[in-house]
Point group: C2
Chain length 331, copies 2
């Protein structure tokens, strides 16, 4: 039969978009981190939905509380990347029968509530269904003035920046799943990054409303994937001359014979913001983020040539568009 071979997540999303009737005057184009609809005046309603699926998104050892919290955090991260405050959360919960008990439901409810309250929002409703695997399908709602920080907009020469260091999650996942070594304290740091991810909402909100940011997205599919997506949407390339990595991940890489570049670029499940900043606004942007106790780490710049290149110690290396992709990546 025609069209029955397996296709990847990106192709599926493109195909769906192609089949949908497009809402007139859509304030945010298909394929950005969030969706939006016009409200009265200059205001827009911002929406985001994404599901946590236990089989792919909940590593061994993660508690139900942590899984439920993560389901919220991964959605908040998309709002953060656009500079939008989430006003309310609704949750469609898919529970396997083994979790339809007071103990499990209490833990899940507490985790969702904790995640929402951490970011100043509330869960206002939802629904419960019976599924074979645990599924937490979260939807966020917020309002904004019609000037979100989109994936498109980066210009040749803009400063490429991130809100934190990379590689902890990739390292932590390896520790959880395989035969890797780390001291107890390093293990705790790395595994904690997996179990308790944080969204950069304060940073995203601090930057909104100014003209500092020319493009932005979160790094949930991996830093390499985000850079290629920003590249595609903004029609620029990136030259990275500083690896956003801490001594913890470097130590883990050295002790386990792993490539630190791999850990930094091809991790995923890491919820930093990846942004381009207009060079003349760099100091101001950095300051507003520091005011909310965040950091803006410059790692390179946008370039005319539509490639993503890492240049360290004079050596250039292409960063390929690999990253997590459902139906293509192996679990």
């Amino acid at each position: 039969m025609v069209g029955t071979e397996t296709i990847g997540e990106h192709e599926i999303i493109q195909l769906i978009h192609k089949r949908l009737t497009v809402m007139p005057n859509m304030p945010v184009p298909f394929g950005d981190d969030v969706s939006a609809a016009s409200l009265s005046g200059n205001e827009i309603a911002v929406l985001k939905t994404d599901m946590l699926v236990a089989a792919t998104d909940v590593p061994v050892g993660m508690s139900l509380f942590e899984a439920a919290r993560k389901a919220i955090v991964m959605n908040i991260s998309d709002f953060a990347s656009k500079g939008v405050m989430p006003s309310a959360v609704v949750v469609a919960l898919g529970l396997p029968k083994t979790l339809a008990n007071k103990r499990a439901v209490t833990e899940l409810a507490d985790g969702m509530n904790y995640g929402a309250r951490e970011y100043g929002t509330y869960i206002i409703g939802g629904d419960v269904n019976e599924t074979s695997d645990l599924i937490i399908s979260v939807s966020l709602f917020g309002t904004a003035c019609n000037a979100l920080m989109l994936r498109s907009g980066a210009k040749d020469g803009d400063i490429l920046a991130v809100t934190g260091l990379f590689g902890k999650t990739a390292s932590g996942l390896r520790l959880l799943e395989g035969n890797y070594k780390a001291t107890a304290s390093l293990r705790e740091i790395l595994v904690n990054a997996v179990f308790r991810p944080n969204a950069r909402l304060r940073e995203g909100l601090a930057l909104r409303g100014y003209d500092y940011v020319s493009s932005s997205m979160d790094s949930s599919d991996g830093l390499a994937s985000s850079l290629h997506e920003l590249s595609k949407m903004s029609k620029v390339g990136f030259l990275i001359d500083k690896l956003p990595v801490g001594s913890d991940v470097e130590e883990f890489a050295i002790n386990n014979g792993l490539d630190v570049v791999d850990l930094v670029f091809y991790g995923g499940e890491e919820y930093e913001l990846v942004l381009t900043i207009r060079p003349e606004k760099w100091e101001e942007a950095k300051m507003v983020v520091e005011t909310v106790h965040g950091q803006l780490i410059p790692i390179g710049k946008a370039i005319y040539d539509k490639k993503v290149i890492l240049k360290l110690n004079g050596i250039k290396r292409d960063i390929e568009p690999r990253g997590w992709e459902h139906f293509k990546s192996q679990i």
Copy 2:
């Protein structure tokens, strides 16, 4: 261990509500058909999320197009019951690998789009994930003035009405699953009710903004379940003196030795509105619904005694609060 015995959907929802921090000034209480958050002025943002799970919600023989359309319709029905127009839809899609192909995805996208366009709304975004069973988690957004038709509000003496006849879906499901008989044309009517359910959005929208309706909800868990829910939330009972059933379902019941009352009250997956109307406003309410080519069928009245009673030909019968409940009902 304490708290590990299986509990039903209703108890799970109550438990979750108890654990959540309640948003201040929530315009719609927990446990109604939709959720809401305040916007500026008198306006509120209305949200609804519910997932279609293939194993429980997609009967044998239903196409992917129909399943995707139904996922939208079942959410629209909740908006209909509150008299709210859905402005935009987002969808978190969980696909098993067997459906990650062009043919299946096209059919799913077309079904979702068709369902949204039928009710004048648009799908503006979403996400795709890998799941073991097909899951279509739909979220709706709309705005309204702060005067929704809630589940609470029915008063002793109000007229109980529905927007259509019941029992077709229950009959159709029996035809699809078991050894029941029907003529080809009857079969088509009954099976079509299962495969192509409709939400009563026009009716709900026609009634909004007036003070005709004292309480309202949809009948997706079965008419009996809706009546008991309205009874609980409004602190009234109901006396039903007319069975909302057509000759098609009566014929099916007689030919198969089934109780027509069972088919009418304990079906579920039927998306009519169940409303109470202030008696002095009955004619006006009926007229506005007929203006949009809908119907308002009186089936009884709200009574002081908090019971749901069917009285036909002088014989009284208690309508028990049975209905579909995840983790308790058998598939």
